[in-house]
Homo-oligomer: 231 residues x 2
């Protein structure tokens, strides 16, 4: 972790979360934000550790995950301008998951007390944070059902589609813009790494995807959606 110095970009142009801040709050917050850089695979925060900051990803990619019984469970992946760690700040307690940099990443972070102060003094901001949390809660509950009730193929298909929607595809219109190791794909999909490898191979044999090392191309999105839907 390295602290960087420099101009802070106007965050309200990057994520609508900050739009409700008053002029005064904007000035104050800009003065409080720290720029922090993390290198590939560096830990950002730990499950159980008392929350100190909420963060907004500026560049790079981050994984949020929990350690299960011998296996990690990726809860969500972040792309630039996504925020994280805000739930723990609001709960005024520990983080309930780990965060680590998937690749070299730059984060704007804001101390917990500052964030909480905004939520307490600015009703519109508070309401916005709450709506975001309502969204996250809905996603989490849907996710639980997906991960527990779908079979391996359905879970993997769903993860692939999530990656398409989260990070998009390259110019060819089908190659995932996110080069994810099979282990992470497994940790997203609640399966062992070998099963992620095996099942992805099967998808390739069936012509649903094309594999070129870590580069995965989605050839038949419709069929993957069907596999995901039917479990």
């Amino acid at each position: 972790m390295t602290n960087l110095t420099g101009e802070i970009a106007p965050i309200w142009e990057l994520n609508p979360l900050w739009e409700t801040l008053t002029e005064e709050e904007r000035t104050r917050v800009l003065g409080k934000i720290e720029i922090v850089q993390y290198t590939k695979n560096e830990m950002i925060h730990f499950d159980g550790e008392e929350s100190s900051h909420m963060g907004m990803l500026l560049s790079g990619k981050i994984r949020i995950y929990k350690e299960g019984i011998g296996q990690k469970q990726i809860i969500r992946l972040l792309k630039p301008y996504d925020v994280f760690g805000y739930r723990a700040c609001i709960a005024n307690g520990p983080y309930n998951s780990n965060a680590s940099a998937f690749e070299d990443s730059v984060v704007y972070r804001l101390q917990r007390d500052e964030f909480v102060r905004l939520a307490k003094e600015n009703g519109a901001f508070c309401y916005g944070v709450m709506r975001m949390m309502a969204q996250d809660l809905a996603i989490s509950e849907i996710r639980t059902v997906n991960l527990t009730q779908k079979h391996i193929r359905g879970r993997l298909a769903e993860s692939l589609l999530q990656l398409v929607h989260k990070y998009g595809v390259e110019e060819d219109g089908q190659t995932l813009a996110m080069l994810l190791p099979r282990e992470d794909l497994a940790n997203m999909s609640n399966m062992t790494t070998s099963n992620a490898i095996r099942t992805l191979s099967q998808f390739a044999q069936e012509g649903l995807v094309a594999i070129n090392g870590r580069r995965i191309s989605i050839l038949n999105e419709k069929e993957l959606e069907k596999i995901s839907r039917l479990g």
Copy 2:
């Protein structure tokens, strides 16, 4: 569903959520609350249906669940004074789960617009709702890992312990105060009904619990905790 008439109890004495309401808001809300009664197994709201009210359970028990692939997934069980449906109201969208009365139940309910108005006009109330949601989100994420990574015995043990903590035990200090059909126990624990029956029998044979029809007594909580912890 039956609408009842009568006095509304001062809700701020029943759940601290309402403590932050001003005198004016208290009067207004009391005038807006409806008393509704549901009979055993009656549906209260449906997944996907546009949210119209948030509710607070007055008496009885309620299950919140999602329909999975051929199997239900109980997300949480409610006891008196628990609130529900508030997430969908805040998101200003559909409920993302079903709610049904586990036994005859009485609910105080408040229209979505009224609830949202409170959250928008009263910052302290908004902050309280948000903290509750932060709690629910943490629980949901922990739950996902538990349900996906623990084995059957671990999941069942955990559900039993949850029931102890949620509804407590009878005077003998060990019989669950909640008489839950095996099917619901299965739906809480992400397993088939036969596996819930079978595994519970095993626990009985091992002396961890005693079964008397639907009455389940916890004989060795320590060991159940161990089974739950180790998966």
